[in-house]
Amino acid sequence: MSPAAPTQAPAPFGAPSGPTVRTVTDAFHGDLLEVSMGPQHPSTHGVFRMDVTLDGEVIVKLKPVFGYLHRNHEKIAENTSYLASMPYTDRLDYLCSMSTNWAYALAVEKLAGQAVPDRAQYLRIILAELTRIVNHACLVGFLFNDLGTSFTPLLYAFREREKIIDLFEALSGSRMMCNYQRFGGCRIDPSPEWLAAASRLVDNFPRFLDEYERMLTGNEILLARTQGVGRLKAANAINAGITGPVLRAAGVNYDLRKVDAYGFYSRFDFRVPLGEHGDTYDRYMMRILEMRESVKILQQAFRDLPTGPIMDPKAKIRGFRPKAGEAYGRLESPKGELGFYLLSDGTPNPYRYRVRPPSLINLTLLEEMCLGHTVADAVVILGSIDIVLGEVDR
């Protein structure tokens, strides 16, 4: 299945599609002010830099600069065993290690042709959707911080996130660096108490969402600050390879959970919300609606969770050597399409290892979204794209 056909012919990638804005050479305006926002800036979500050129407060040019957090992840992975890369994938998108783990496991399983037991498949979906909630709650909180609240929405979101993170800790041993998925299953079988606690939490979560939305969604200042700000056209988004909620906010129906139906997602009943304007408000609402859908998925998963082993009995933990070949495993991480490309030459280490990071690719159209807006909007637009620098810089 391919993304929904755009209504207008796609513009060539990189061609300005936004409104006509002032350019640097426009002779009728004042001198321009170049500001280097970041890498030390409270709103760049890590060590990220935006070289912005301002006319007054209006952005006429924006250059994203990244790489401050480059850790050579891919090269390291080519020099360690398959298993030893698993904890490193936690550090890619450190807010959603569970789904990053899964994406890597998915690629390796494809490479080695391993099967995954039913219970493990369900557990993976449970953890991935919990991760989606964690990520979106964080994102929405930080977005409001960028919008200038004094931490209140962020801390409400963190309060709920903390409850899920505590569950992760109880299950996997670590709050954020879970290192939980394995090739052919999962590492630890959750106890019935854990499942009960998680199920209770999920049932309570819509209450929090309702309160959160009552507090902010109808707020006039939020509407004024986000509606119409940072528009992204569907055609451009597709051309730039943008995925995830940012793409869906632009109105493109493309969700790998439906497209690939990896894992057991085909067994679940959930809907994919779509935006219309592709602006910051749509991107914000996509996250809220996706959290609601995740709750639905989780409730079904807790209801249907089968018993049985969580690990493929044929899986080898020590001395894992997939046969030579290549595989690309991808899934719908909370930020978009997260893919791992692996090329094996039959040794314990992958010959080639490559990550398709959604954060980085979603960032490519930042300038287009920001042009013509003010500095204050640039910060908000960046926040609404949802980047994690660990994944952008790798």
Binding site: A84, R187, I188, N219, E220, I317
Partner: protein, 207 residues
Amino acid sequence: MLGSGILKGLAVTAKNFAGSFYDPERMATVQYPEERAPLGEHYRSFPLLVCENAADPLGTLRCVACTICEKECPPQCIYIEKSKDKKPDATGKPQLYPVIFTIDTAVCMGCGICAELCPFDSIKMDKVFEVTATNRFTGLLLERDQLAKSNAYYHSIRPAEAAEVDARLAAERLAAEEKAKAAALAKAAAAAAKAAAAPPTTPPSAA
């Protein structure tokens, strides 16, 4: 009407303000040094080395210096040097032991891969998270004696897992003993048979 959204927001924060005084669901803060939140069942911090006897930690390490963990450790924070001689392990089998076993906790990322891969149930993940040192080079480089923790301690932090490990080890030991016994018996039987075939010249050795 303009302002209704703002008023709603004010109402929600007011509700949270009130709720923070009586609702533990809202006010989840724990006053840390005095109160502590319980650690999760599978919580992990840094690795430790299990030894059988707290009185002689270095002598009774389960580790046989196989260096699987050293090889598999993702950030390569483990350094092991094997011994030249062999010492009998828990099952009585003569095994190598580590002369040097250091973990650089400044490098360790606590992923737990070492504990997962250890075939001798020797390296396990600790639950102590309040680790500080005044020197960042020597203070964070943990030696054998700092890493060695008794099996009783392991039981105290992870009762279920430790019981399972002990049961498995006991079973292995039993199996080893039985195997040894069987081997001895077989040996004895063979010797007896040999003796029966030819008069013994040497007394049968005790296994």
